[in-house]
Amino acid sequence: MRITQYLTSKLKNFSNLPKEYIERSKKQVYWKTPTERGYLPSTVERKRYRYTTNRSWTGQFRQQNMPGTMRRKVFVEPVEDWSFFRGDRIEVLVGKDKGKQGIVTQVIPERNWVIVEGINWHYRRVGAENEFPGIIIKSEAPLHVTKDIRLVDPSDLQGTEFEWRFTEEGEKVRVSTRSGRIIPIPETNNQTHDYKTPNAYIEREKDTPAAVVGEITFQPKLSTFEMDIMEEMGIKEERTPAKSYWY
């Protein structure tokens, strides 16, 4: 999925991290020209990353994309409108859990993946040594959105195809093609790591109260920012600047 689509899609950023941070945290610059005169700005950096279930700001992601290593390219087919959101009930079409239904818990748009609660378990044995057999860790494997799953119609709880249509109010909605019913985007999609709903956010020590933010204190005035601050601080400037030339 491309970034322009990501911006227009209804998918919310669960991590609630600023884009700048996400970009900065995964960046691997191998070499950069000095920021001096006489140098063309150019960088040698990692351009392609292997996205997995590990999010790009974590240490595991960095471990899987160690500087200097190359991995085979993964071809991710473009998706026009992202249609699977956190909290959606979906039906599995492939694998050992074929026909089962589950709730989407995580969305990974970089790979067109979703992770569904309790579906598609896979097991890893870790820590095995000579005598010790190791322990089994179980976790959900991701499912591909275009091939592995389909949405569930809320009217009869059966899997269905759907399409994006517009309501009379101009809102873009998912409509089940079988029953014609709207499949609403779940409220869970709006949850973030920091709060479940914006209203439920607990204000922290360094946060500005909402009313202080919304208060209008600006008064239009015929002065620049600097002139206004000088007036505020009682700084008087009576010297007239000499004639100067900009070139």
């Binding site: 709060y195 109260p209 202080v212 204190t217 600006f218 920012f225 030339y245």
Partner: protein
């Protein structure tokens, strides 16, 4: 100075104790009961009375000690331009220094955590402060531009223009302020190199343009390859969607190539 600024946003809440409360980030939540009073007290900026002792002033570069061992220090989001546009110049001025202090503190903490092999909690705070400061600067510039355009008809920004440097590359020339007019400023006339020329520069430009062309050519090949691989993996992929995504690729032609055909036997009619 800055503790005064902090105070003024906090008068209602704390009368004697100066609690550190910056305007770093804004939550979207409903307002707690106490902050109704804080709204009115914005103007009543308290006078800075007690000068902090020396080591305390130095400790302002560090976070609150209670956050030192934390794994997560949660804060809200950055200030948006629309929220800053409704604030007076004075408040923006105060907010700038609060943000600047916060940024200093965060960068110090990050350095210190690296030094002590500790985890610096929530490094995205640095980016949030940076975004807020960028937005604030944009708003201040907007206001100044409006004033200058109204009064003088010019933006009031530092004049700059596009020109060719000695290597024949386009670059931005930022003008400087001079006491003398250009025709009298012999030193400046001598120092500037107008235009470009010579065999070496032309040779360089030829190779430089080839490099740029190669970047473009490789990008085109890459998208062509990408379309082929998508078609090979998904023979029934939506062609219209592909055409929209990769407008520079001739998809009809690509479909007939061997590379785009998957490893399956095509259905033959009859």
């Amino acid at each position: 100075m800055s503790s005064t600024l902090i105070k003024c946003f906090n008068v209602a809440k704390t009368v004697s104790v100066v609690a550190f409360k910056s305007l770093l980030t804004t939550p979207r939540s409903q307002l707690p009961a106490w902050s109704q009073a804080a709204v009115g007290s914005l103007q009543k900026c308290g006078v800075h009375t007690t000068a902090p002792v020396r080591h305390e002033r130095l400790m302002e570069f560090f976070d609150d000690p209670k956050h030192w061992s934390e794994n997560e220090v949660k804060v809200g989001r950055a200030w948006r331009p629309d929220e800053l546009r409704i604030k007076s110049n004075k408040e923006l001025h105060q907010l700038w220094y609060i943000l600047l202090k916060e940024r200093n503190m965060l960068l110090t903490m990050e350095h210190e955590c690296d030094d002590k092999m500790e985890i610096f909690p929530n490094p995205e705070r640095i980016d949030k402060v940076k975004i807020s400061m960028e937005n604030l600067e944009t708003v201040v510039r907007e206001r100044n531009r409006a004033y200058h355009l109204l009064e003088t008809g010019e933006t009031g920004e530092r004049p700059q223009k596009q020109m060719h440097n000695a290597f024949g590359l386009r670059c931005t020339y930022k003008s400087c302020e001079h006491v003398l007019p250009p025709f009298m400023n012999t030193k400046w006339i001598k120092s500037r190199n107008l235009g470009y020329g010579g065999r070496a520069v032309h040779k360089f430009l030829l190779k430089y343009r080839e490099k740029l062309y190669n970047v473009k050519r490789k990008a085109k090949n890459r998208s062509r390859n990408e379309v082929m691989m998508i078609l090979r993996r998904n023979p029934h992929f939506d062609i219209e969607l592909l055409k929209r995504k990769y407008s520079d690729v001739d998809i009809e032609k690509l479909r007939r190539t061997d590379k785009a055909r998957g490893h399956f036997v095509p259905k033959v009619d009859g």
